[in-house]
Amino acid sequence: MDFINLLALGFGEALTPTNLGFCLVGALLGTLIGVLPGIGPTATIAVLLPITFYLPPLAGLIMLAGIYYGAQYGGSTTAILVNLPGEASSVVTAIDGYKMAQKGRAGSALAVAALGSFFAGTVATFGIALAGPTLSSFALSFGPAEYVSLMLFGLLAATVLARGPVLKAIGMILLGLLLGMVGIDAGSGEERLTFSAMELFDGIDFVVIAIGLFGFAEIIENLENHEARGVLVSKLSRLWPTREDFRRAWPAVLRGTGVGTFLGVLPGGGATLASFCAYSFEKKISRHPEEFGEGAVEGVAGPEAANNAGAQSSFIPLLTLGIPSNNMMAMMLSAFIIHGITPGPTVLATQPEIFWGLVASMWIGNLMLVVINLPMIGVWVKLLTVPYRLLYPAILLFCCVGVYSINNRIFDVVLAAGFGLLGYAFRKAKCEAGPLLLGFVLGPLLETNIRRAMTISHGDPSVFYERPISLVLLIATVGMLVLMVLPSFRRTREEAFQEEEA
């Protein structure tokens, strides 16, 4: 069969000692920058781009791809251990993962995240190999109207992320939307909500908000509560997940993988949407929704699988159509172009060893990551026993350098400090920051697509319900809204809230 031959060709390429070596270097480097908060894969790849001039094309690409998915692995580690999501997709992991860590189950959370990610990575890699072109045509059928419906669905689902009253969650989403509007509006060239600060013309960076609201605010709160502080509240229990953990996690991993593979293909917010759609989904179908937010293992397994599957499948539009679906992929495109390769359907036909070699290396890289990361769990968990007075200065330093390195400017660090203060106020007000971040990420997509859809249709709103995919999404959104106002649903939320207070 053709497919088997091509895959064999790919593995033949990926298994040469050089390529294996660069795959390992990439995966290790990715894990490192993923663990360090604030330093993102985009910046690292940018720095390494010139080095790949001197490497053979495939080796360079394999290394850069390794950094990308390695960072996904590493990112969840910081989210679980110190409640610091380095990028949008690990915001969700932090919710239940950190709670698990506080309850002494950091080992379980990390192991489930690593194994779930590996499984999802494997499935998604084969997904790329088998159905890449089909999936990319699915992505192309998403026009402005479909995006609007998808974003509405996603924003509504985001209310499930927080415990406590729905109204507060909605308010936080709205605030996120508002923050997402800061900057120069591309459609008109007008400055919006920038207070004439030139540094805000391009909007606020996600990392600035995340480090402020999560990183700095968490440190301040921990220092304030002298008695019950630090990460580890209860005693460390066993390192490895229990049989019960596995039983509850594996269906969540399966579902997360499915969600992630599909949504990851969508340009823009695909991979982000994937992780929290998976979380909302798990919470919805769970028989114990009250455990979510309190350290439910499904709440780590589902989103982690989804985010890793999404990270892999976001390569699909780049490899099959030559279109990068996010900043990271745009960087990969530069790497291809530096080597005179232009990814797209032509390369697929003329240089199959590049496409299939990269796909095969992704699977190998995922395997390496799981082999590297599982033994590391012991070390990470030990880290939690370090006294907090020694831990927090390190976190502080990593956060500061990370924020500075986004645009190499003071302004961002000061802004992050401001968000730290805001995050502190939100903690006093018992508002959770997760929905705000998701509103912030999805907001600009929602706005630009509403405006695009209305321009194209000349103001006719029928585009939203006349296009089938958009219609289905809108029906799902309305359905979820009905579920939320239905008394039975409200009762479970209320119960969860009261339990938490009790």
Binding site: A46, L49, A139, A186, G189, F201, L333, G344, T448, R452
Partner: protein
């Protein structure tokens, strides 16, 4: 506050600096080349590719510093505020550099920014899906005449080269097109592939340098056909007065002594002629088009005037 601290710091460094005997430019310390865009973008990759060859000519070290934001305004401001000792240079891109001055009060003094060399001039162009019924700008104009407003054109925002090209075509052919804004060329390409817009604007270099089997180019907006697309007819050849291109080059502060600027400019020129660099430029589909500091300085006002006329058109339309 910020300025106060900056100035104090500057004063301190100056005081410290005078004590030490300076070696002659450019071997004293590395030259900082500020890139006004994020790492990995076209401007960044071009400058990072070119820098080693300039280093070779000067016998000095160059470090690249990315200061992205506000379409370059942040970088230009940093350049004009830097010490005028020849150790700071910056990328310079048009039309952004010129249109921002028309659109808003910029936070730097354009008179303090002197071009060193133009490296690339990349003409704009319009592309449609490969299966489209349009084969030339003429076909498109005919269709747009029959169906006013029906042709949707993807651009990357107000005042970008694609948007200016669209306005010129509307005026020159007397048609009405609908602009749809995207955040960047890649989003626009995705929308074109999915059939959500009919046509998008794209630089010829970007078009040639990517897999374009799914697209068809209707014409380039240059005076003469670009070196990287010798077979693509210009809009002028097709009877429409559309002339838009984006330029990339390097600038230095005007307070830098003229002889240093000239030396730097010469080094850039020699680096561009290096066959090794030319080979790499070809791989990256860079539309190399060198202009010396003087020539570029003369060309810039002409360009600004042309853009200004279109710009007025855009403002009236709003």
């Amino acid at each position: 506050m910020k300025h106060l601290i900056r100035n104090t710091a500057l004063a301190t460094t100056l005081l410290l600096g005078t004590g030490i005997a300076h070696a002659e430019w450019p071997t004293d310390r590395p030259i900082e080349l500020i890139v006004a865009f994020a790492p990995g973008g076209g401007t960044d990759v071009m400058n990072r590719t070119l820098a080693p060859y300039i280093e070779e000519e000067l016998g000095a070290k160059i470090t690249i510093l990315n200061r992205p934001g506000a379409s370059g305004e942040i970088a230009y401001t940093a350049l004009t505020e830097a010490r005028p000792d020849g150790y700071t240079a910056s990328s310079l891109n048009t039309p952004g550099y010129l249109t921002m001055q028309m659109d808003r009060k910029v936070r730097f003094d354009p008179k303090k920014l002197c071009p060193v060399a133009r490296i690339v001039e990349d003409p704009g162009s319009f592309i449609v899906q490969a299966g489209s019924e349009f084969n030339s700008l003429k076909d498109l104009v005919e269709y747009a005449k029959a169906n006013p407003g029906a042709v949707t054109v993807g651009t990357t925002g107000l005042g970008t080269d694609e948007h200016l090209a669209m306005l010129q075509l509307e005026k020159s052919a007397g048609i009405d097109l609908t602009a749809v804004t995207f955040n960047g060329a890649n989003e626009a390409r995705t929308a074109l592939l999915g059939g959500h817009v009919m046509m998008i604007g794209i630089n010829v270099g970007e078009f040639v340098g990517s897999d374009h089997s799914a697209f068809k180019n209707l014409g380039q907006f240059a005076e003469q056909r670009s070196v990287i697309a010798p077979d693509l007819p210009t809009a002028k050849e097709q009877g429409f007065d559309v002339l838009v291109s984006s330029e990339r080059g390097i600038a230095m502060g005007c307070d830098v002594p003229a002889d240093i600027r000239t030396k730097f400019s010469d080094a850039v020129h020699k680096a561009l002629d290096n066959p090794e660099f030319q080979e790499k430029a070809k791989q990256q589909s860079l539309a190399l088009s060198y202009l010396s500091a003087d020539d570029w300085n003369k060309e810039m006002p002409v360009r600004a005037e042309r853009l200004g006329a279109i710009w007025k058109l855009a403002k009236e339309q709003q």
